[in-house]
Assembly symmetry: C2
Homo-oligomer: 345 residues x 2
Amino acid sequence: MTKPRASVTIRDVARRAGVSVATVSRYINKTGPVSKAVGERLDAVMEELHYVPHAAARKLATHKTFTIGLLLSDIGGDFFAPLLRGIEDVLASHGYDLLIASTRKPRRWHGKSLPVGPHNTDGILGFADSLDEDHLRRLMAQHFPLVLIHRTPPPDLPIPCVTIENKAAAHAMTSHLIEQHRRRRIVFLQGPPGEEDSHWREIGYRRALADHGIPFDPGLVMRGDFDRDVAFATIEAALRQGIAFDAVFAGDDESAEGVLAALHVHGIAVPEEIAVVGFDDQRMSPYLTPPLTTVRAPTEMVGRHAAQRLIELIRDGTTELMTLLPTQLVIRRSCGCPDRGGDDS
Amino acid sequence: MTKPRASVTIRDVARRAGVSVATVSRYINKTGPVSKAVGERLDAVMEELHYVPHAAARKLATHKTFTIGLLLSDIGGDFFAPLLRGIEDVLASHGYDLLIASTRKPRRWHGKSLPVGPHNTDGILGFADSLDEDHLRRLMAQHFPLVLIHRTPPPDLPIPCVTIENKAAAHAMTSHLIEQHRRRRIVFLQGPPGEEDSHWREIGYRRALADHGIPFDPGLVMRGDFDRDVAFATIEAALRQGIAFDAVFAGDDESAEGVLAALHVHGIAVPEEIAVVGFDDQRMSPYLTPPLTTVRAPTEMVGRHAAQRLIELIRDGTTELMTLLPTQLVIRRSCGCPDRGGDDS
DNA sequence: CCTGAGGATGTAACCGGTTACATTGTACCC
DNA sequence: GGGTACAATGTAACCGGTTACATCCTCAGG
């Protein structure tokens, strides 16, 4: 019923083939010479017995797990699928397994010990704020391979990270609104407090204002939390207070959706009265009304690069510290540009 | 540089605390009596040494990995994020780790041996067609815990599975088109060949036709492959051939998107001339033009139930064989129903 | 005072691989 | 013919935990 405990071990294979376990191990791992005849016999025996080496035993003996851990602060969202696909694809092609740990609540592990680490993986990928600074310092102290995704490390910690070009894109987007569409009072909707992408996007926004001689008005920077409903409420409040603005640069597409909804219920025309742009280019963005002008984030590439960096770090002990992937403006209609027909999707 | 091999073992802890390894192990696992005084000393020492038990060693000794494997035929898409979230959440709450193996190409492992199995996990979750029938038989023969997701096992294999109510929903959706919107020539767009969800949806569709006395026309069943572009091409071809139809039941929302696009470029009014409905209720579906009437699939719940079933199977050696989760019609505009304003999102 | 029960702890075998080292055999070269 | 090099293989220790079993101690009951 429960456990026939029939698991086949390397000794069973060795006995059946009339050789020693060392020979079997060497043959499997190509780690020493084995005669052709014995090799063939082993192939046959292993096939016959359905032998599969026990991962834990191997890990214990070699101190290599060939597993990497991925820490996510929140699984779900459009973000996650392409990121994972990129990571998984690269890892698989190098023979690594992927162990995932996630949480609904951001910062679940802050202060606690991590579910992945030296005891069960060869290295870890940490997304955004999934790890706190203590974790980073401890892991570095142990020389444990670690790569951050969408997050830069504290200045004194040389931890490789992979993230996207936020500032330049935000600058370009803001400049587009100013130059092409003559907007001057542009609201910026921030992400959650401390969110790094949002931080850089805001910097780019401010820089663009400065570069065009538009004074920065702190009253135009509002909370969006990368959340549809928060953004909706924020814009409603702004309208009610009579704050004047002619464009909204939402921190991400999620909040842009809320902005569009709020303007819609108030009967304000987009883009004629108020232009709206976002960031990320999510799946639904082309279908919003009007189609959302935004910035495409190469999320799958982020995953691929992060995995690549980590593997190099494990193998060579070193890799590039900073990988910044390019982003790209996606002009649709919500900024005021004309319909360009069969756009991408 | 490379490996300071400074890993702290249970013997280090034992020595430092002046007790034997057995005592330490017993204390950690609460598997035998340990005096209060020693317990406190051990707590202190473990904290001081940052001791974390080595997972592989424990697994080897206990023959329990506390890890489950998830096999995906293709990661990515709106589908996976909620599914994974559900799985991860339940597993984590029971102390299980999640090992993921995926592929871009469907059926990558068909005929080959699997990346997860008895050698590295306590049980596996298999999504749709990720495993072939040989895999299923072999795993069953070894009594290895296995739960299928969005797939039912061959009739002679008692493998638990978790899937959604496709037939009843498809029946209800088709009936809605017939009864509420007087449609009689309804195209059904199939998923990829062999896709099980699609199969049941088609059964529901046919049953509804029969129940309303509408003769089944095989010429109205076409390929959609759950793919936007395939669906687009199929509808274009149908229009060009002059096939008469007044509604399209797309096998999923992805293909419904293609249908809408094709009808749009041909200047056909939806829903006035042709009604369109889908299945899944993806993120973008409310934003299509017109907003898509579809069926909501409780994907996160599927993940939760599957994980729950597997854990029961591992713990108790048995669980329910079939879990069928309810789906729900989501009426929007593409079927011809009037706008109901602030719909869900 | 002796005995038995049970609490607290230690000793050592074991899980299933890997690998350093030893051993044997054969071919090759001088 | 003797020595060397190297291919092919075996022996046994080791990785870091768990756990069956043995030991020792204390305390209650007769």
